[in-house]
C-alpha cells in the first residue's frame, strides 16, 4: 500500500513538473525540431533580439513594478484597517474579486473604461492596465497580510496604545516592523500575479501597452517556436525564484 502510494506520487509529481522541465530542456536544443542536436544558447539570443518580446518585457516590468508598489501600499493599509474593524463592503468585495472569473473582471473593466471615456477624452493604454492590475492584486496582498496579523500578538498594539502612542505611531513603529517579512512576501506575490496576467490585461490594453504575456500569447497562437521556449524558461525560473522567496519570507 505504502509502495503503491509512493509510486503514484512520483507519477503525479512528474505530471505536475515534467511539462515545464521538458520545455526548458528543449529551449537549449540547437535544432528547432523535436530532435536533440546539441546544446545551444541561440534561442536565448534570438529571444533577446526579438523586438516584440523585448518591448513586452519592458512594458510588463514597468506595469508590474508600479502596480506592485500601489497595491502593496493600499493592501497593507486595508488589511490593517480590516483587522482592527470589520467592513462588510471591503471584505465582501475583496473575496468576490478573488472569486470572479478573470474574463468577467476583464470585460467589466473594459466596459467601465469605455463608459468613462465617453466623458473624458482618454484611451486604453498603460494607465488602464496599471489600474486594472492594482485592482486585482490588492486582494492577494490583503489575504497575506491578514493571515500574518491574525497570528500576531495583539497585546503588542494594546501596550503601545496604553503607553501613549497615537494610532498612526503604533502602526508605524509596532505593526509595520512585525509585518516586515509579510509585506515583502505580499509584494512579491502581487508582482507575480501582475507580471503573469494575460486575460484581464488583454481586455484593457491599448496599442502602446502590449505586455510580455500578450506577446507570448500571440506567438503561441501561431504555433510554438524555440524562441518561446527560451523566454518561457526565463520567466518560469524568475517567477519560481520570486515565489520561493515569498514563501520563505512569509514563514519567518
Amino acid at each position: 500500500m505504502k509502495r503503491a502510494l509512493a509510486l503514484y506520487a512520483v507519477a503525479a509529481y512528474a505530471f505536475l513538473h515534467l511539462p515545464l522541465l521538458v520545455l526548458a530542456a528543449f529551449s537549449f536544443n540547437r535544432s528547432r525540431f523535436m530532435r536533440w542536436e546539441g546544446f545551444s544558447l541561440e534561442w536565448y539570443q534570438a529571444a533577446f533580439s526579438n523586438p516584440q518580446l523585448m518591448e513586452g518585457a519592458s512594458n510588463s516590468l514597468l506595469i508590474a513594478a508600479i502596480a506592485t508598489i500601489l497595491s502593496t501600499a493600499i493592501g497593507v493599509l486595508g488589511a490593517y484597517g480590516l483587522w482592527r474593524r470589520r467592513s462588510r463592503f471591503l471584505s465582501a468585495s475583496l473575496y468576490l474579486s478573488l472569486l470572479t472569473p478573470e474574463i468577467v473582471t476583464g470585460v467589466s473593466l473594459l466596459v467601465f473604461f469605455q463608459w468613462i471615456f465617453r466623458v473624458l477624452d482618454i484611451r486604453l493604454g498603460m494607465h488602464t492596465v496599471i489600474l486594472a492590475h492594482v485592482a486585482f492584486s490588492i486582494a492577494y496582498v490583503v489575504v497575506v497580510i491578514l493571515a500574518r496579523l491574525q497570528t500576531m500578538d495583539a497585546t503588542l498594539l494594546e501596550a503601545a496604545l496604553d503607553l501613549g502612542a497615537s494610532p498612526s505611531e503604533a502602526f508605524r513603529r509596532v505593526i509595520l516592523p512585525v509585518l516586515g517579512p509579510a509585506v515583502a512576501a505580499a509584494s512579491l506575490l502581487a508582482f507575480t500575479v501582475s507580471f503573469d496576467d494575460y486575460v484581464i490585461t488583454s481586455m484593457v490594453a491599448g496599442v502602446d501597452s502590449e505586455t510580455l504575456p500578450m506577446a507570448i500569447y500571440a506567438i503561441a497562437r501561431r504555433g510554438s517556436s524555440p524562441v518561446l521556449n527560451a523566454i518561457s524558461t526565463l520567466i518560469v525560473a524568475g517567477l519560481g525564484f520570486l515565489t520561493l522567496a515569498s514563501e520563505r519570507l512569509r514563514r519567518r
Binding site: 502510494l5 484597517g81 463592503f89 473575496y95 474574463i103 507570448i216 517567477l239
Partner: protein, 275 residues
C-alpha cells in the same frame, strides 16, 4: 476620522471604482439592447438572459458544466492519493506540499503553452509515438475537449490537493487503527472512516476547482483551438468580434451568479472556514 478607517479608505475606493462599479455597469448593460455599432441602446429588456437558454448558447453553458465537472472529478481522483501521500510523509510534508503549489505560481499562460508544445502534431508526444512506430500518423491530441480537460486538471490540481491534505492531516490515525483492530478491511476503513472524516475537504476542494474551471477562458481558448468551447470564450467573443455587449454582460453575470451561489451554498454548511 479614526486612523483605522483612514487605512481602509484607499482600498475601499479602489474596490468601489475598479471592481464594484464595473460590475454594476455590466449589470445595467445586461438589460439593454445591442447598439447598431457595438455599444448599447435603450429599451430595457430581458432578451439577453432569455437568449442564454437558446439551444445554441444553452449547449455552450451545458458543455462548460460538463467539462468543468469532468475536470473536477479527475482532480479529486488524482488528488486524493497525492494528498494522502503528503499527509503521511512525516518530516518531508512541507517540501512535498511546496512541490504541489510551486507550479501554480509559475505563469499560467506558459504552463498551457507547455502542453501545446507537448501535444501538437509535431510535438514531443507524437514524435515519440511516431518514432517508436506505435502510430503511423500523428494523433490529434490538441484542440479538442480532452485537451481542455487535461489543461484544467493540470492547472487546478493544487486547489484540490490543499484542502484534501488539510482534512487528511487533521484525521486521527488512532481511529483508523481502531477500525482495523475491530476487524474492518482496508477498503471498509477507507469507506466508513476516512471518507466521512475528509468529506469537508472534498467539498471545499470540489468547489475551489469547479468554480475557476467553469469560468475558464485561457485554457479552452488555447487548448480547445479557437472554437467557442466554454462560457468564458463566449463572453470574450461578445466583447471582441461579435460586439454584443449586452449579451456578453448577461452571460458574465450568470457565470458569476453560479460561482457565488455554489460558494454560498457550500459555506452555509461548513461555516466560513472554506475561505
Amino acid at each position: 476620522m479614526s486612523f483605522e478607517r483612514l487605512c481602509r479608505w484607499p482600498a475601499a475606493l479602489v474596490m468601489a471604482f475598479l471592481f464594484a462599479a464595473p460590475l454594476g455597469v455590466i449589470a445595467a448593460y445586461s438589460f439593454l439592447t445591442r447598439g447598431a455599432y457595438g455599444g448599447v441602446e435603450h429599451p430595457w429588456t430581458l432578451d439577453n438572459y432569455a437568449r442564454l437558454l437558446d439551444p445554441l448558447y444553452g449547449s455552450i453553458l451545458l458543455r462548460s458544466f460538463w467539462i468543468a465537472g469532468v475536470a473536477t472529478a479527475l482532480c479529486l481522483i488524482c488528488g486524493f492519493p497525492l494528498a494522502m501521500f503528503i499527509a503521511r510523509a512525516g518530516r518531508r510534508k512541507n517540501l512535498y506540499l511546496a512541490l504541489v503549489i510551486l507550479p501554480f505560481w509559475t505563469s499560467f499562460l506558459i504552463r498551457i503553452y507547455a502542453w501545446m508544445f507537448l501535444l501538437r502534431d509535431t510535438g514531443l508526444v507524437n514524435t515519440i509515438l511516431l518514432a517508436t512506430g506505435w502510430v503511423r500518423e500523428p494523433l490529434p491530441l490538441l484542440y479538442n475537449d480532452g485537451a481542455v480537460i487535461l489543461g484544467l486538471v493540470y492547472g487546478y490540481l493544487p486547489f484540490m490537493v490543499l484542502p484534501l491534505y488539510a482534512a487528511l492531516e487533521r484525521q486521527d490515525n488512532l481511529l483508523l487503527e481502531a477500525a482495523a483492530d475491530l476487524g474492518a478491511r482496508p477498503l471498509d476503513v477507507f469507506r466508513r472512516v476516512t471518507l466521512p472524516l475528509v468529506a469537508p475537504g472534498i467539498r471545499a476542494g470540489t468547489i475551489l476547482v469547479f468554480i475557476p474551471c467553469l469560468g475558464a477562458y485561457l485554457t479552452p481558448d488555447l487548448l480547445g483551438g479557437g472554437r467557442t468551447v466554454m462560457v468564458g470564450n463566449l463572453i470574450q467573443n461578445q466583447f471582441t468580434t461579435a460586439r454584443d455587449w449586452p449579451f456578453g454582460s448577461a452571460a458574465s453575470l450568470v457565470l458569476m451568479a453560479i460561482g457565488v451561489g455554489l460558494l454560498w451554498s457550500a459555506t452555509r454548511k461548513e461555516g466560513a472556514d472554506i475561505l
